[in-house]
């Protein structure tokens, strides 16, 4: 109880309260604008949070991360354009409901499901804390190295059909992270005698280029969408009651979100897809999925909003980000010399609990904000894409330039922006590059420290946690190759039948 009150006390400050409010409200608005999304907003705000205390900066970013999914449902439902990438499945049932005049009901269901998913996820996170606190100290250098390796393997294999591209981009990220002066013998790596490369390429510069500037360029070279949101008729508040009558849908969906969020490299989309598929089978209304089934909408929204809290687990417990957004948050920890991982759980558990409580508050704030402002908020989908692109361009400048006041950083970010544009245009993933940079850096350090105590290769997996992680890596690889083999066999079979 004392711990709980201490953690609550850490949040009872005016700066934290403002950060929570701006984060949750800002996240909803950002999510509601098609073409922005939380990754861009977090990337832009990241350098601005370096001047803030860790709890203030992190609650601001967490607010944006957690509440953007709420806002992302608005354009997905009203104009069939997902506000964030993970709201794609929300369009399946949300938009048909709008077409038959049930836009307000669809939105209220989405907000209610998001709220339930978010709260269930945080409860799961808090319940798991004692287990995590017990398990986290068992992770030494070798185990963290293997966990990061597992994250890399999962990032590659979960990009189904694009595993080779994802692998190459992940390795590109590992390579980019090594550029500059290294810290053991102070030699230069791939600087080509250029002074501006000696300090390396900053992660935030790459993130801003790949996420924010590339999106700005993408919007600027495209056409304006003429979105006209329909008028909302009916009450937004009733959705929560309707969602609560569907526990068989929202509880397993939130469960998928929690599990998928915890696994590094998997993320919201697969959680949403699996929960949607399960709901289609178990709801008894499967034939109407994709035609405006409320159960489908609830499943996808409950799942995607359960992920942010769960995604914090590998970050906080092991210091390993599972996807791009938590990788950006890791930068905030490092800037303030707060190293997430087993020691943080052991020594600063009140800080962790404060973050959990902040997550609960921001869900309540986001939900409350939407209940009061949805009718007004729907108008943001009318902002023309290219106008938005130009504003993102200006905002990206703040993020890059405020780091070191370097025009060269801006040029590097612009180059990564162009590279990101090419990747997005070709439908290639950009997240592996970021994870390659972050996980590569962690693995380099942990490999060096762990090898000092290793005589033979088998020593690397002599401890139980290392053995479990190694077994999971082997299992994931075998399962991936088996799935590839089966897919090829069934393709050959269907080709034979066709001929």
């Amino acid at each position: 109880m004392e711990l709980f009150l201490t953690s609550l006390g850490a949040l009872a400050r005016i700066d934290v309260a403002i950060a929570l409010l701006i984060g949750s409200v800002g996240g909803v608005i950002i999510g509601a604008i098609p073409g922005v999304g939380p990754a861009i907003a977090i990337a832009i705000l990241l350098p601005a949070t370096f001047a803030l205390e860790p709890i203030v900066g992190l609650t601001l970013l967490l607010g944006i991360y957690g509440s953007s999914m709420y806002g992302g449902a608005i354009p997905a439902i009203l104009v069939n354009a997902p506000g964030t990438a993970v709201n794609a499945l929300t369009t399946y049932d949300g938009y048909p409901m709008t077409q038959r005049g049930e836009a307000a009901r669809a939105l209220s269901l989405a907000f209610g499901a998001s709220f339930c998913g978010g709260i269930i996820s945080i409860i799961a996170l808090m319940s798991l804390s004692p287990v995590l606190a017990a398990v986290a100290p068992m992770f030494g250098s070798r185990e963290i190295f293997l966990a990061a390796l597992l994250g890399m393997v999962l990032v590659v294999v979960t990009h189904r059909g694009q595993a080779l591209a994802a692998g190459a981009l992940l390795c590109l990220g590992i390579f980019i992270n090594t550029i500059g002066l290294e810290s053991t013998r102070y030699t230069q790596r791939y600087t080509f005698d250029q002074a501006w490369l000696a300090s390396g390429i900053d992660l935030i510069v790459v993130v801003l280029g790949l996420f924010a500037l590339s999106q700005a360029f993408l919007l600027l070279v495209g056409e304006d969408e003429h979105n006209e949101p329909p008028a909302l008729v009916g009450r937004i508040f009733d959705g929560l009651r309707e969602v609560l009558r569907l526990p068989k849908i929202f509880v397993p969906s939130a469960g998928f979100g929690v599990i998928m969020g915890m696994i590094p490299g998997v993320g919201e989309f697969l959680a949403q897809f699996f929960s949607y598929s399960l709901a289609r089978k178990t709801s008894g209304n499967g034939e109407n999925f994709g035609k405006g089934a409320p159960e489908g909408l609830v499943a996808s929204e409950a799942a995607n909003n359960a992920v942010p809290a769960a995604a914090m687990i590998p970050l906080l417990a092991l210091g390993i980000p599972g996807e791009a957004l938590t990788a950006m948050m890791l930068a905030v920890f490092y800037v303030h010399n707060v190293i997430p991982g087993p020691q943080l759980f052991a020594n600063d558990f009140d800080f962790i609990l404060s973050l959990y409580l902040a997550l609960i508050i921001l869900n309540i704030l986001a939900f409350g904000f939407l209940l009061g402002t949805t009718k007004w908020l729907t108008q943001v989908v009318r902002i023309p894409n290219r106008f938005l692109g130009m504003v993102i361009l200006v905002l990206s400048f703040v993020g890059v330039f405020s780091l070191r006041n370097s025009i060269i950083d801006c040029a590097i970010a612009a180059a990564f922006g162009m590279f990101g544009l090419m990747l997005k245009r070709l439908n290639l993933p950009i997240v592996p590059i970021i994870l390659g940079m972050v996980l590569g850096g962690i693995m380099e350090v942990k490999f060096r420290t762990s090898m000092a105590r290793v005589e033979t290769p088998l020593d690397f997996i002599e401890r139980p946690v290392a053995q479990v992680l190694f077994a999971i890596i082997v299992f994931v690889l075998i399962a991936h190759f088996y799935a590839l083999f089966r897919a090829k066999k069934s393709k050959d079979l269907s080709n034979d039948q066709a001929s």
Partner: protein, 192 residues
């Protein structure tokens, strides 16, 4: 993590999870893959000179180890990607390389706009450059109604006030501010 290019556009429906991940091979994709593979080969050719490997030093302490891991990984995955391109060479779909490269070139114009803006901020000042840039871009993008120009000015002022005045991000005062009267100068340097 996927269909990022769909954000801001209409949703495309997919029936299977693979439909979201697998995009058909296009000649633009093949060209892009080949070019990046050639870059990886070039980086590999520089491994001995651009990253150091010392004699009698344990592998994990070699400064060039992780650069080598990254490059070898790019070559490994890139090689199999090349093989896959070869097997799909007869079924390449749109977009073609030229049409896609034209779009990349079109984006190059905005890179130039961005770099001009970046270069002008330390000289002219954050507020005037931002507002001026947004007004010019609004005109360049073809918006002619007054409300868009009003929105551009509002967006510019808001961005500067939130980031420089409120969040105090580190953007230095402009060279031009030195010519302002002393009463206004320090205010302009600190907040504008």
């Amino acid at each position: 993590m996927i269909q990022e290019n769909e954000i801001g556009g209409k949703s495309n429906r997919a029936e299977k999870v693979d439909d979201y991940f697998v995009s058909p091979y296009s000649s633009a994709l093949v060209w892009f893959g080949v070019c990046t593979f050639l870059v990886a080969i070039f980086l590999a050719s520089q491994l001995g000179t651009q990253a150091k490997f010392f004699d009698n030093m344990r592998l994990e302490r070699q400064p060039g180890l992780w650069s080598a891991i990254g490059i070898v990984g790019m070559l490994f995955f890139g090689f199999f990607q090349m093989l896959q391109f070869w097997f799909h060479r007869n079924g390449l779909q749109a977009p073609g390389f030229v049409s896609e490269a034209m779009i990349w070139l079109k984006a190059g114009e905005y890179v130039l706009w961005f770099m001009v803006y970046v270069s002008l901020v330390p000289l002219v000042g954050y507020l005037p450059t931002t507002v001026g840039f947004l007004l010019l871009m609004t005109w360049r993008l073809g918006y002619r109604q007054r409300r868009f120009y009003g929105l551009a000015v509002l967006a510019g002022v808001l961005i500067v006030v939130v980031f420089k005045s409120f969040l105090q991000v580190k953007i230095p005062g402009a060279a031009l501010y030195e010519y302002l009267p002393s009463a206004v100068r320090s205010f302009a340097i600190l907040y504008l």
